[in-house]
Symmetry: C2
Subunit: 322 residues, 2 copies
C-alpha cells in the first residue's frame, strides 16, 4: 500500500462539494456564505488513546470525529455547511481509510456538510476537524445568555456514554444488552443539529454536554455570570443508567461524564410551551432539570435531591489535562 | 504545572479578536464576512519528527504553524481573517506554551488574523491550524487557471529551506554564516500575503511552493490541464544556493525541496509590466522562469539549461507518505 499523499487525497478525501465554489484540490477551498448570515467556526482534535481506544472501529471513529464538531455547531443554533479534515496516520491502510471516510461522509451527507479541504500526513493517529456553520446574523446561540429566572433544560438522556466507557475500562459490569445500548451513545453520538436551529430565539444560555453535565452547566454560569440549581432526580437517564444509579461510578458518569453531545440550555419560564413543542416536533426528549437562580453571584451549580435536600457536587468533569 | 484544560485555554489561547463577533470561550466562534466576499478555507497539520524536529524552538514553531497556513491563503489571493489552533501536547509546559503562542500571535497580529477558537488536548505534539480568508467574490486565485502562452513566475528565492534541512541532517556542510542565512527560510518563512492579494486579476494559475518547485508547478499543470517548460538557470537562488548548485543535494533542494512558501504563478505575456510593478511596489523579487507550453496535453513539466539543452527532471517533490 505505497500510496503517495496525493493519491491518498484523491482516493479518500476528495468528495463532491455541491455547497462550495471550489472543494478539495487547491491551496484552499472557496465557499460563499449566504447573504445576512453569521458564520460559526469550531475545531476539535481527537487523539488516539485519549479520545478513542487504539483499535477503535474506523467507521465509528469517522462518524464521531465529525459528530463532536456538529455538536458544537448545534450548540450555536447554526446549520453546518463546510468542514476540513486533517489527519495524521501511522501508515496508509486503504481498508481502514475507506471505512473511516465512510463513517465521516455518511454523517456529513446527512447534514449536507461539504468536506472542502484538510491535510494528511504520517504520524501518531490524530484527527482534527474544523467546521463552519451559518446562522442568520445575530441569532447564534451562546453560553453567555443565561439570565436569572430561566429554566435549565437538557435534551435526550445523560451519562450513557461515560457509563459505557466505565464498563469498557472494567469499572462496572453491565449485561451484554446494556453495554450495547450505552455503547451506542459512546461510539455513535447523534449531534443535535435540528434541535439547535429550532432553539434559535427560544434558548438563551446554550452549550453541548461534552465535558460532563455539571461542568458544562457551570460553563454557562461562568460566561453568563449567574448560578444554577439542579434537581438531580430530574436529570433524564436511560433504563440502564437508572438501574445502576446508586453506584458511585454511575453517578459520576451522570454528573461528570463526558461525551453525551446533548444540548443543555436555559430558557425563560414563558417559553416552556415553546420548548415542549420543539421537543414534540423533533421527537427529542427535553427535560427541565433546574433553574438559573441568581445573577451577579460567583458562577456556581448547586444540586438538590428529590426531597429538596442539598447534595454536594464534587468539582468534577472531563478535563483533558486532569 | 498542573494546569487544567480550561486554565490553559484562558491563559494561552484566549486573545483579543477584534475582527470576530465572538472569539474563544464558547462552543464555536462567531464571525461575519464582509458583504460580497468569498471565503477561502485551508487547514494544515504539523507533526513532531515529520514537519519539525523534536526540540524545535517553540516561538519558531508557533510562527511556522501559522505561516504555512497564511501561505495557502496568499496563494488564493485572499486576505487572512480568522484562525483556529488545535494542539496536542505531551505535557503542559508554561514556558514552552508562552513562547509558542508568542511566535504564533506575533505573526497573527502582523496580518490582522484573529485566533477565534481551537482545541487542546494531551497527546504526541501535533499542531493543526485552520484559517479563513476573504477575497471579493470570484477573484480568488486558483491552480486551475493557467493557460497556454502564460509566463511562469516565482517569488523570492527557491530551495534555501530544503538546503538548510539537508545541512541539519548532515547531508551537506555549510559555513556557520550560510547556515544562519538558509535556516531563516526553514524556521521563519515569510508568507507572501501582500503579494497574493496584489496578484488578483493579474496572476492566473497560482500555488504556494511547499512541496517543491517542480512538484508544485506540476500541480498547476494538472489542475489546468496544461504543460510547462522551465529554464533551470532562471530559477532565483540565494548566494548560498548558487555556491553549491553543482552538488546533487543542493540541486534536489532547489527543484524538489519543500517549505519555500514562495508563490509560483502564471500570467499572460501582456501582464509582464504589471507583474514587475507589483514586485517593485512590494520589494519582492519576481522571476520569470518559464512558460506554459501546451494545452490539453498530459500535465508535464520539462526543463532546459541555460544553453537550451533539455534536462531530465526526476519525478520528485516533498511527499508526506513517500
Amino acid at each position: 500500500m505505497a500510496l503517495s499523499e496525493f493519491e491518498v487525497i484523491r482516493r479518500f478525501f476528495t468528495h463532491r462539494a455541491p455547497g462550495a465554489v471550489l472543494g478539495v484540490g487547491d491551496d484552499a477551498a472557496i465557499v460563499r456564505a449566504r447573504r445576512g448570515m453569521d458564520l460559526v467556526v469550531s475545531a476539535d482534535m481527537l487523539v488516539s488513546g485519549r479520545h478513542f481506544f487504539r483499535g477503535a472501529r474506523p467507521a465509528q471513529l469517522g462518524h464521531k470525529s465529525l459528530a463532536v464538531n456538529l455538536s458544537d455547531i448545534a450548540a450555536m443554533g447554526a446549520a453546518p455547511r463546510w468542514a476540513t479534515l486533517s489527519i495524521a496516520l501511522p501508515s496508509v491502510n486503504a481498508r481502514w481509510l475507506t471505512d473511516f471516510m465512510d463513517g465521516f461522509m455518511r454523517l456529513a451527507r446527512r447534514h449536507r456538510v461539504d468536506l472542502v479541504g484538510g491535510d494528511t500526513t504520517r504520524g501518531p493517529l490524530s484527527i482534527c476537524v474544523q467546521i463552519i456553520g451559518e446562522a442568520p446574523a445575530g441569532t447564534a446561540l451562546r453560553r453567555d445568555r443565561a439570565r436569572a429566572g430561566d429554566d435549565v433544560w437538557v435534551s435526550g438522556v445523560i451519562g450513557d456514554a461515560a457509563l459505557a466507557l466505565a464498563a469498557l475500562k472494567g469499572r462496572i459490569r453491565l449485561t451484554a444488552g446494556e453495554r450495547r445500548q450505552v455503547e451506542e451513545k459512546l461510539h455513535a453520538p447523534v449531534p443535535r443539529v435540528a434541535l439547535g436551529t429550532a432553539l434559535r430565539g427560544v434558548a438563551r444560555g446554550t452549550i453541548d454536554v461534552s465535558d460532563g453535565l455539571i461542568a458544562d452547566l457551570r460553563h454557562i454560569c461562568e460566561r453568563s455570570r449567574v448560578s444554577a440549581a439542579v434537581r438531580l432526580d430530574r436529570i433524564p437517564v436511560s433504563a440502564t443508567m437508572r438501574h445502576y444509579l446508586e453506584r458511585p461510578v454511575a453517578r459520576a458518569a451522570l454528573l461528570a461524564g463526558g461525551d453525551d453531545y446533548e444540548l443543555c440550555f436555559t430558557a425563560r419560564r414563558s417559553q416552556r410551551d415553546a420548548v415542549a413543542r420543539i421537543g414534540r416536533g423533533l421527537r427529542i426528549r427535553l427535560s427541565r432539570i433546574g433553574r438559573i437562580v441568581s445573577a451577579g453571584a460567583q458562577a456556581a451549580v448547586t444540586a438538590t435531591d428529590a426531597g429538596g435536600k442539598p447534595v454536594r457536587l464534587r468539582r468534577a468533569g472531563f478535563d483533558h489535562f486532569g
